[in-house]
């Protein structure tokens, strides 16, 4: 196993379109790194550049001690799991697994024992003599993982491997893959993993660290908790979390005490927030997670007044949509704390938890409410 280092990696396509803007990323030995972002954020392109399936037009990719910029995929010490499995349709599962080792001219006995071991780990022994078309989606995906595992690569690359599976299977495969990663780590042969997904649930539950990407830039690299608690910018804040963070334009001003003004309403900046601010005034984006606010009766001080726009009963909780000025806020309220008297069109107020408010610079999007920004940016 080895670490993976991307240094100023760029990708410019023939037409002049710049897909990847000089990204730097370090994946430690044995780390599970998730690349996540909306479609078109170049996460798959980045993965394919690591794999060697796309050329890079600038920068350097290093796996362990080797710069692999110009190496063909087979010589990079990587293995990849594809979104649609990409099993060789004319080969039985056994040959699909052993194909890479056969090409390396490994001795037959070694291939056989490796095949047995991997199929044991992934519980696919009984599938060895089937053709890929005789496998279900989950089985095919396990074989695809096995085909990567059998090569004992330096780095595992996963390209949205679960997105073709139904929700239930996806959840169980998610656990299977993280279990496998832990198991390999416990057995003393940790696997370095780069895992691409657009699904933030996968990202949050699987990754040791998560790299959030947007339009070919890295927005933030951090562990799931940091990403959720201390998003580096408005994009990350809005991307991570379900439902997503409420973001609304506001103004931060100091006129005899720090105030936030949102839709014409001002509240005093709570002391927990004031201590964290790195700027004292200017146009900002106000951010609060749906779980971090209270719905209080209209007229409560230090709360933003608005009207209830919609109420969604989710069973264990209630999603309350309210309009404050032109912005819509969603509040997630546990069922037992929800005032069932509230109706659509009612006037209510929203009081954000001071410690959980995020303020982002309106221009750059950078979070100005992190006491020490350098900690969460890497």
């Amino acid at each position: 196993m080895a670490d993976l280092q991307l240094t100023s990696v760029e990708k410019v396509y023939g037409g002049g379109f710049k897909a990847v803007h000089g990204i730097d990323l370090h994946v430690a030995d044995g780390e599970f790194m998730v690349l996540v972002g909306p479609s078109g954020c170049a996460k798959s392109t980045t993965l394919r550049m690591i794999a060697g399936l796309e050329t890079i037009t600038g920068g350097e990719i290093r796996i362990g001690e080797n710069v692999v910029n110009d190496l063909v995929p087979g010589k990079r010490g990587i293995a990849m799991v594809f979104q649609n499995y990409a099993l060789y349709p004319h080969m039985k599962v056994r040959r699909n697994l052993s194909f890479g080792l056969k090409l390396k001219r490994e001795p037959a006995a070694k291939i056989e024992s490796a095949t047995q071991e991997v199929s044991g780990i992934l519980e696919i022994e009984e599938l060895l003599d089937r053709l890929p078309k005789q496998l279900s989606g989950g089985q095919a995906q396990r074989v695809a993982v096995g085909r990567a595992l059998i090569k004992s690569p330096e780095v595992f690359l996963f390209d949205e491997p679960l997105s073709n599976l139904d929700a239930k299977l996806r959840a169980s495969m998610r656990i299977r893959i993280t279990d496998l990663h832990k198991r390999l780590r416990d057995e003393g042969r940790p696997a370095t993993v780069v895992y691409v997904t657009h699904d933030q649930v996968e990202a949050m539950t699987m990754g040791d660290r998560i790299c959030v990407m947007k339009e070919g830039h890295i927005m933030q690299v951090a562990d799931p908790v940091t990403l959720y608690e201390r998003p580096a910018n408005a994009f990350v804040a809005g991307f991570i979390g379900m439902p997503e963070m409420n973001l609304a334009p506001a103004v931060l001003a100091d006129d005899g005490g720090l105030k936030i003004t949102l839709a014409g309403q001002s509240i005093a900046v709570p002391p927990e927030l004031a201590a964290r601010l790195s700027a004292q005034e200017g146009p900002v984006t106000f951010g609060i997670r749906p779980q971090n606010m209270d719905i209080v009766p209209a007229g409560t001080p230090d709360a933003f007044a608005g009207t209830v726009h919609n109420i969604e009963f989710m069973g264990h909780e209630v999603n309350l949509h309210m309009n404050i000025g032109d912005s819509t806020f969603i509040a997630v309220i546990p069922n037992d704390k929800f005032d069932t008297g509230i109706r659509r069109g009612d006037a209510v107020s929203m009081r954000p938890h001071g410690a959980r408010i995020h303020l982002f610079d309106r221009e750059s999007g950078a979070n100005i409410s992190l006491a020490d920004q350098t900690k969460s940016l890497s």
Partner: protein
Amino acid sequence: MTTIPDLKPMPQSERTRSPQELKIQREQRRGAIIRYVVLTAFGLLMLYPLIWLVGASFKTNEEIFSSAAFWPKDPTIQGYIDGWQTSTPYTFARFFMNSLYIVIPKMLGTAFSSVIVAYGFARFDFPGKKILFGILIATLLLPDVVTRIPQYLLFRELGWLDTYLPLFVPQWFALEAFFVFMLIQFMRSIPRDMEEAARVDGANTFQVLWYVVVPMLMPAIISVCLFQFMWTMNDFLGPLIYISSVENYPVSLALKLSIDTTEAFNWNQILAMTVLALAPSLIVFFIAQKYFIEGISTGGVKG
């Protein structure tokens, strides 16, 4: 031929059928019968010349022109025996072998070279690709005869006249744009992921082609071989131009030979040998039919 489907209702369900349902069923059945009768009639009409050919090859020379019926009154295999001997020192076995000497290298060379060229066009970017592809497709529109004379002069210079080389060597260089085009289209429908997986598995370009692309392309490759087999077996003009000695004649020329050399044509011999000449193509077609149909009709490969 397909049999008429059994449309008789199940006895148990008959009791529960309403009169309307029975009427609809009767009409459906009548419709099916009419369809099959019409199809069979036209099918037979189209096939009649072929059926007649087979029948006539067992007739005597006199009977061939006296009756249009295909069933011989007095079946004889004399036509086959005499025809096989030919009027030359060689039997038809020789001519069949000669045909194979042309067909086999031509077929294999076509498949091999067309796959490589198609792979290049379908999967790689290189300077001038669009122009080269345009030229390739343009040759599809070029009538064969246009190149006959320059080709003849070229092969004469090479000293290849009266050998089989002019008939198959050009095909080793993906001469048939049609096949290249067909393979490219087929290849485009195959997802690239399998090839990428093979590259990650450590395969080089040729290993990817051989272990991954060719097996997935097999139905199309078999179609190419089959087309080339049949076209070459039937090719008359090529051998006519380049082959001058009788001992080198392929079947297509040898058939003509029996018309040329005898004063009164022994039509039953000619027909008998024609039937035999058809046989290899038909046999090969039926053996490869499954893949052939797949090759023409399959758009993609289940991943």
